[in-house]
Amino acid sequence: MSGESVSFWILALVSVFASIMMIVSKNPVRSALNLVITFLCVAGFYILLSAQFLAAVQIIVYAGAIMVLFLFVIMLLNLGAPEALIEKGSLQKPVAVGLGIFFVVLIISSQAILSLPQAVGRPSVTQYQGTVEAIGLSLFDPRQPWLFPFEITSILLLVAVIGAIVMAKRKV
C-alpha cells in the first residue's frame, strides 16, 4: 500500500467517524469541534489531490474563521447540554435509521458502487494545477469563463456584508 492510500484511509475513517460524532453528540460544543475535525480531514483530502491552495483556504476559512464564530456563539449562549434540545419520544430517530438503511440497500441493490468509473492510467491532475499561480491564472484569465462569475460572486458577498452592517446599525 502506498503512503497516499494509507493517508487516504486514515483520513477517510477519521472524517466519517468525526461527522457521525458531530450528529450524535448531545453537546453543541463537541458537535462543533467534531465538525472542525471533519473540515481538517477534507483539507487533507485536498492535499492528497495536489490541491494545496484549496486545502489552505479550507483550513483558513472553514476551520479557522467560520467554526470559530460558531464556537463563539455557542459558548456565548452557553447552551451546554440543555434537556430541551434532547427530543424524547419523537419519531425522528427511528424514521432516520429506517430511511438510512433503506438508502444503503438502495445503493447496494442498484449496483451503483460497481458501476463507478475506474481510474485509468495516471491521474490527469498534475502537481502544478493546484498551486496558487495555476488557480490565479485560470481564475483571472479573460479567455476562461471563470472571471465573470468570480467578480459577480465577490459583489454578491460585498452586498451581503453591507446589508449585515445596515441591519445591525443603530438607528441614528
Binding site: R30, I59, V68, M75
Partner: protein
Amino acid sequence: MLEKFNHLFIFPEYFHGIRLPGVVPYIAVLGSVGFILTILPMLIWIERVVLALMQDRSGPNRVGPRGLLQSSADALKLFMKEDARPKNVDVSLYHIAPAIAVVTSISAAAVLPLQNITFEHANGVQFSVPLMAGDVNIGILYILAMSSLQVYGVVMAGWSSNNKYSLLGGLRASAQLISYELSMGLSLLCVIVMAGSLQLNKIVDSQNILPFAGAPEALRGSVMCWYWIRSLIVPVVIYTIAMIAETNRSPFDLPEAESELVAGFHTEYTSMKFAMFFTAEYVAMLVVSGLNAAMFWGGPLPPLNVVPFTLIPGFVWLILKIMGGIFFYTWLRGTLPRLRYDALMNLGWKKLLPLGLVWLFIIAGMNLGTDLLIHQYPGAKQFVPQEARFLEPEVKSTTSSDDFGSVDDNQEPVQYNTPSSGRRGSAPHIKGIPVSRVR
C-alpha cells in the same frame, strides 16, 4: 581566501550514494524544532532580564550565572509538580487543549526559510536548496492556517475548564484572534503583491536585489532592499501590532488579564499542562517574529553585502532578527499598559483594517505602475528571475521544489520583449516544469 571560505559551504550533490538535497528538509525539521525547544528557557530568561533592566531591579540572579538557569529550574519544578485537575471539567477536551496549542504553534515554524544551501552537481553546476522543513507553494497561507487553528487550544481550554474566568478568557482570545488576523493578512498581502509569491524563500530572494539601478554591489540585499521600506513602512507597523495581538501578549494580553480574569484560559491548568500553554505562547512569538523577519526584514540576508556580515551564515541572521522581535515584545511589555477591550476592538477594526485596505490599494497601484513603466505589461515583475545568495553571478541557480513561477534565465529576455504573444509571459509556464529545474 574569501572564495575558499565560501567554497567550504558548497556541498556535493551525492555523498556516499545519498542525495543530499533530499536530506535538507529533515535537517530543517530537526534543526528548527530542536532550536525552538532549546531556546525557550533562554527566551524566558532574556525577557525577565530585559524587563528587570527596564524596571530598574535585579531580576533573576540566584540560579546559575546571572540567573541563567532560573528558567530550567522552573521547568524542572513544573515537571515535578502534581497535576491537579478540578472536578467538573470536560475531561477529554481539558487534556487535549494544551497539546493542540503546542502542536499548532510549533508546526507553523515549518515554512520559515532558514537559509539557502548550495550544492554542486557532478557536472559542476551549482544550485541552491532552501533550508526549510516544507518548501510548499502556499507558505504564508500555511502559517496563517496554523495560526488560525491556534485559537482552538485556547477556546477548548477556556470552555472545558468549567470556570467563568477561563470561559471569558477563551471568548476574548477567539474574538481578538479573528479581529487581528484580518489586518495581519492585509499587511502580509502588501508584501505578497510586491514579491509575487507566497513561498517565503522566494519572498526572501526577491529582497536580495539592488536597491536602484547602478547601486554598488555592497548594497545588494541590504537593509534598503527589504520590504519594510519598500512597502513604505505602514505594512510592517500593521503587522507588528497584529502579531502582538495574535500572540496575546502585553499590551494586548486581555485573554489572560491577571487583574480581572485571574489567569484567563489557563487558570485551571497546573504543572506540565500549564507549561505547555507557556511553551505554545513563546513558540508562537518566535514564529510570528520569524515571519516578520522573513517578510519585512530580509530573513537570512545580512544587513549589508560586505565581508564581515556575509561571513556569518544566514540562519544566524534570521535568529538575530527573531531575537530583535522578542526584544521588541519585552520592550512593549515593559512600557505600555494593557488596552481596554473596546479600545482593542476599535484599533483592530476601525484603524488597522481600513489602513491595511488602503495601503494594499496603494501598493497594488505602485506595482502595476512600475510594471507598466518598466516592463510594458502588467504582471511582469512576478517572472523576474531571482538570484540565490552565496552564488557566483554567472552560475545559474534554482530552488528545489515547486518553482512554478520561475523561468529559465536564458529565455527571460525573450519573454519580456514579445509583448504581442497572447498572455505575454505567463501562459508558457503553465505547461509544466520550468526548464531550469535541476532535480
